[in-house]
């Protein structure tokens, strides 16, 4: 695939991510903070998000496996996940977190378990998609091109 095709593919892919609600305006804000002096800013923040989310998902799994569930603790983790997903513009993850918090408040175990499954799913989707997008960007840069905005 030549450079122009790659660039077009990237733009289409990125647009679809916004269209399907995986990313929102906040992700655009992140991209605008990246420049020649900080060329890896987006990848760095997103990588932090991946690490942090995985940690939180593990904590959530553990917390919900307990005999006697500490809903405050569960809520605290979801709150963190909601915050970080919001900060990078991972809209679908954020939305599940909102529902998740409501179940925590109601102390609804079923609801919480369902949301955990959902949030894992949404996280894994956005992770895959962002990684694909970064890969495309790398291909473009390796081919000597620049990333279209």
């Amino acid at each position: 695939m030549d450079l122009v095709q790659l660039q077009r593919q990237l733009v289409e892919y990125r647009t679809s991510l916004y269209h399907e609600g995986f990313l929102d305006e906040q992700f655009t804000q992140l991209q605008e903070l990246q420049d020649e002096n900080n060329p890896d800013f987006v990848v760095e923040v997103v990588s932090l998000f991946f690490e942090d989310s995985e940690r939180l998902l593990n904590e959530l799994t553990k917390a919900l496996e307990q005999q006697s569930i500490d809903f405050k603790r569960v809520d605290a983790h979801v709150h963190q996940l909601k915050g970080s997903s919001s900060s990078i513009g991972a809209q679908r993850v954020q939305k599940v977190c909102i529902a998740f918090r409501n179940y925590c408040e109601e102390q609804n175990v079923e609801g919480c378990l369902k949301c955990l499954q959902q949030v894992r799913h949404e996280y894994s989707l956005v992770k895959t998609k962002l990684e694909s997008m970064f890969q495309l960007e790398q291909q473009i840069l390796s081919a000597g091109g620049s990333i279209p905005m």
């Binding site: 906040q26 605008e32 923040v45 942090d52 605290a76 909601k82 915050g83 919001s86």
Partner: protein, 210 residues
């Protein structure tokens, strides 16, 4: 590319989320401020020179021998921007402590929160916060900081020149591992005078670790 005047302002950003710290740091640097980030209210107070017993340790090396290195260089913080929801000391608690301190009360404090709770907002403003930003914070929000900073700018303060004093052994590698380890290690790095999130030019220009 910031004007020299702007980079005289030093902002202390407080947030327990590593993602948000990275974000606020980038936002502040883009706005040409010098930035130090810490992950808790207690670390913020430590950095500001305020200890639990409310005494300010100026040049006393007794507490933490290496800590006083940047203390001696008269680190001045022109503004504190803090997250509201943090474990232990909340942003509100931090705000209160700063406003109750005779030496720190004139430092403008800005609160950030992911939750739009009117009673929370008014409580913070009543306690003396200059602004309340909803997260995620945008560059446009930061433009509101300037007037508060200009108000407090005094002509005769001694500006710390961290760049000219490569006294700390601060290899990038150490910083990299730092981020991935627990907060205990982070505290240790702070005490050794190495703050991985501190603004300091490195050969390859990377000041944040992933």
């Amino acid at each position: 590319m910031g004007m020299a005047a702007d980079s005289e302002f030093h902002v202390l950003a407080v947030d327990d989320s590593i993602i948000d710290r990275k974000l606020i740091e980038r936002l502040l640097k883009t706005s040409s401020y010098q930035v130090t980030t810490v992950d808790s209210g207690s670390k913020a107070l430590e950095f500001l020179g305020l200890h639990e017993d409310d005494r300010i340790h100026q040049n006393t090396p007794s507490v933490s021998p290496n800590n006083h290195q940047w203390r001696l260089q008269e680190v001045e913080v022109n503004l504190v921007i803090t997250d509201y929801c943090m474990p232990g000391m909340t942003g509100y608690d931090l705000l209160k402590k700063i406003k109750e301190s005779s030496s720190l009360k004139n430092i403008p404090v800005v609160i950030m929160s992911s939750e739009n709770v009117p009673s929370r907002i008014s409580r913070c403003l009543e306690e003396g916060a200059e602004e309340f930003f909803l997260k995620p914070v945008r560059l446009s929000d930061l433009s509101k900081l300037r007037p508060h900073l200009l108000k407090t700018k005094s002509k005769d303060h001694c500006k710390e020149q961290v760049d000219e004093k490569p006294a700390f052994p601060s290899p990038k590698q150490e910083g990299k591992e730092e981020q991935q380890q627990s907060k205990n290690n982070k505290r240790k790095a702070m005490e050794e005078g190495v703050s991985p999130e501190r603004t300091r030019p490195r050969p390859n220009g990377i000041t944040s670790m992933v």
